[in-house]
Symmetry: C2
Subunit: 499 residues, 2 copies
């Protein structure tokens, strides 16, 4: 092995990996948007087989030799090849001891679990989905016992979604968040809520689609590389900087739901679209981590989209699109309505203030599932109890309760906490951005390009080159703290509710 052979081997195998990633991402996107409902058996078979092929590639001896050579020859490798080797080395370490049959069986399990979840949610039938959660959690605990025998399996799951995090890290973060949110929400609950009945009348979906076009343009989402589809749950699916798919969901009686979905998913998309295109065919492609990704979707959705300045700039276009429905109302009313803070049942519809409590509930349940303190069949009871305790609301059924999210059916335990963490990351990053850009004025002027460029310069272009935990300290010059996030929420909602 020499340096050129090692680099060439890495390039070749990573290009193959890209090919599988590209087609599997496209197939998943197709499955969620247009595939015929009973095509899942064929797709599951194909998925299982090709997942096995990618598994073999990722654990091939040629790749391993090249990866270790580059990792051990950091100076010769240079920063990009070194980082690729570092990421691939960690992946090999995780995968090489998992028997391929188990890996493929797990892949097929997730495929059937997804369909089981869809049916369970539709029929409010937790019992039919419970065996899948059991199998998924058991498999993850088993895989963790192979890859990280000395670590707690939920710490392994947390670290898999956000490098460097564990229960201790999140416990501290969530304790700070809880300490601010619970009393703040309690105070707001005593206040009068704005009247949003004018936003609950009919806003025809075909016309709402024009708002999506406006949002796509405003946020500089390049349609040559990014298309918008429709699904029950909005998502972003990026194969590389050339091809990113986002989806939204239209509700006839809630025109802002889709607007904020497009802004949110558009934030994820803009991150992916602005990674250095040289990384397209290797592991540096895409966002640095789950939390870094969510920091960007939430940045655009909340810090930009739900700000008073953005709503002022957006109002004339909203008014023009729906002249009848809006004629007796003002931008100020829209601003208050899109920031209406009240405890609710469904995470994806939660307001900016109460959102993290939904996350904390899921985090606490997952933690106890992995430790064995909570039995699968007791999830609904635990869920409903926590919603009562933290948010003061009664969960009427599991469809609106513990069956609401797709994540567990996809094996994404340890994913939810990154949503809150990312939101807190971007609060701290915004504080620094404000020192370099006239953020408020740019948003008020609908001139978001300088903000997009700033984020590209400081975050997006790097893809996975930098470790996710380094962004906040590097950009802000300070270690990460929840304080910027809690201060932001306190200030914004105290003003909104005149506390």
């Amino acid at each position: 092995m020499d340096i050129n052979t090692a680099k060439h081997t890495l390039d070749e195998i990573e290009r193959k990996q890209f090919a599988y990633k590209y087609v599997l991402a496209t197939v998943m996107n197709d499955a969620s948007t247009v595939a015929p409902p009973e095509s899942y058996t064929a797709r599951g078979t194909a998925f299982g087989i090709l997942s096995g092929e990618t598994f073999k590639l990722q654990t091939s001896p040629e790749l391993k030799e090249a990866v270790y050579y580059l990792y051990e020859n950091k100076d010769e490798a240079g920063p990009e090849y070194f980082r690729r080797a570092e990421l691939l080395r960690e992946n090999i370490r995780k995968m090489e001891n998992i028997p391929i049959e188990e890996y493929m069986a797990y892949s097929e399990l997730l495929n059937t679990a997804h369909v089981a979840w869809l049916n369970a949610k539709k029929n409010n039938d937790f019992a039919s989905f419970a065996p899948f959660i059991r199998k998924i959690v058991d498999t993850q605990i088993r895989f963790a016992s192979i890859t990280d025998p000395d670590k707690d399996p939920y710490d392994v799951a947390l670290d898999a979604h956000e490098e460097g995090t564990d229960r201790e890290y999140y416990d501290r973060f969530f304790d700070e968040v809880k300490a601010t949110l619970i009393p703040l929400i309690a105070k707001i609950n005593e206040k009068e809520q704005p009247d949003n009945s004018w936003l609950k009348v009919s806003y025809p979906v075909e016309v709402q689609k024009k708002l999506s076009d406006i949002v796509m343009d405003t946020f500089h989402l390049d349609r040559n590389h990014c298309v918008l589809g429709e699904t029950e749950h909005p998502y972003t699916n990026g194969a590389c900087s050339q091809d990113v798919r986002i989806t939204t969901h239209y509700y006839e009686n809630d025109p802002v739901a889709s607007v904020f979905s497009v802004i949110h998913e558009g934030g994820h998309a803009n991150y992916e679209l602005h990674v250095n295109p040289e990384y397209d065919y290797n592991v540096l492609s895409g966002g640095a981590s789950m939390a870094m990704h969510e920091s960007q979707s939430r940045f655009w959705e909340n810090y930009v989209g739900r700000s008073e300045n953005f709503i002022q700039a957006f109002w004339p276009r909203f008014r023009e699109t729906f002249p009848e429905q809006t004629k007796r109302h003002t931008a100020e009313e829209l601003y208050r309505c899109v920031n209406l803070a009240h405890p609710s049942l469904v995470r994806t519809e939660a307001d900016e203030l109460t959102y993290s409590l939904h996350i904390i509930i899921r985090y606490e349940i997952e933690k106890k599932l992995f430790s064995g303190e909570l039995a699968i069949e007791d999830i609904p009871a635990a869920w409903n109890e926590k919603y009562k305790e933290y948010l003061g609301i009664t969960v009427p059924n599991d469809t609106l309760g513990c069956l609401q999210d797709v994540h567990w059916s996809q094996g994404s335990f340890g994913y939810f906490p990154t949503y809150s963490l990312g939101t807190a990351y971007s609060a701290q990053i915004l504080d620094t951005m404000r020192k370099e850009l006239d953020f408020d004025q740019l948003v008020r002027n609908n001139d978001l390009e300088p903000i997009l460029n700033w984020l590209t310069e400081h975050i997006y272009r790097f893809g996975c080159l930098k470790k996710p935990g380094t962004y906040v300290p590097d950009i802000t010059g300070k270690p990460f703290t929840a304080k910027y996030y809690t201060d932001y929420l306190t200030e914004k909602f105290s003003k909104l509710y005149d506390l």
Copy 2:
């Protein structure tokens, strides 16, 4: 090698092949319907790499050994494994001598050629597409010189699209067709045409979509396994009997165009959907051949859809969907309008009578391209001359002339002739069906299920188990002849135009 090992090896490798086929079909479908326009570089890279993987699978020594074992042990293999071995053996014979780099380069060439064709057609710029045709034809001639050094390369192309056919076969068939069509069309051209101006007013696309729903239901197209999308050129893309995609194109001023596209593609789809599901994961999946496939799309489109009985049954639903536009008209008028026969420029919009002349023109040009008698740059002149000679019309530009079809950009030389051949196959098959079913009455009653079941029993369920050339003789008890097709056209159009 023993019989069980051979069967097991075949099953394993064919399942892998299925996985690649499934994802590549889905990616192609995605590319045609929803992918962002500038994602083709990424997709092309992925396609090239995975085509290389399927190439390796198809030519792997393990597969070859199993295939030859089963082929040589026909009795032990049984009819299904034997036919699979026979088909795979022919494929190996064709592929094993083509260097993988050339095969992958060809796959990438087709990807870029498709984009070049789209642009050339858009800009009426044949010169920009000509080098791609040159490279594709040269590559096919080179591949034919490797796989079939003793055969004419266009005969190889014809046989690749329809086993057992060659120039001699098609020359004889097309001579018979020409002998009937040219005088028949000449006579009709002297007759008065029905007034179809009422079908050229506005039929809003959103409402036309309801007609698609009616057609999907009428033709028993199972939406659990078959979805309808929209593309510039309608197509069918079936990955297996569980997952078939069809598309249509809506024209606001031509509501019947999409109706007949859905019926046509629905015919392809019903074939794929009714192949024995046990064949899903192997090479017996899908229709028996191009011509057999086209025999079914044309059967449903023309022999059913454009019949007087079908139009009578369809009329009340058409009238209900577009009450204003149709209120002064009758089923009889619609029947005459959907069978209006007149020479036109665009193959996909051609009527049933003149259609085969479009095919004959393409066939004659392809034949001369492969023999070197026609230079690439002379295609437009040759095309325009033949349209003048056979159809009596002047081609105003290449967009409406030799750039109109996607086929050449996909390397599908030798494909066009199967369209006419299939149409003639189904004329002969219909003659037999009429002896067993009251075809006219079933169509008049909108009761198409017995017809679908008859075709499933005699054709669809077999997939690729039987050789394509065996259907017409086996079903009808007679060798194939063009006579049923030419008799059908003569009778139908003589009556319509009162000759």
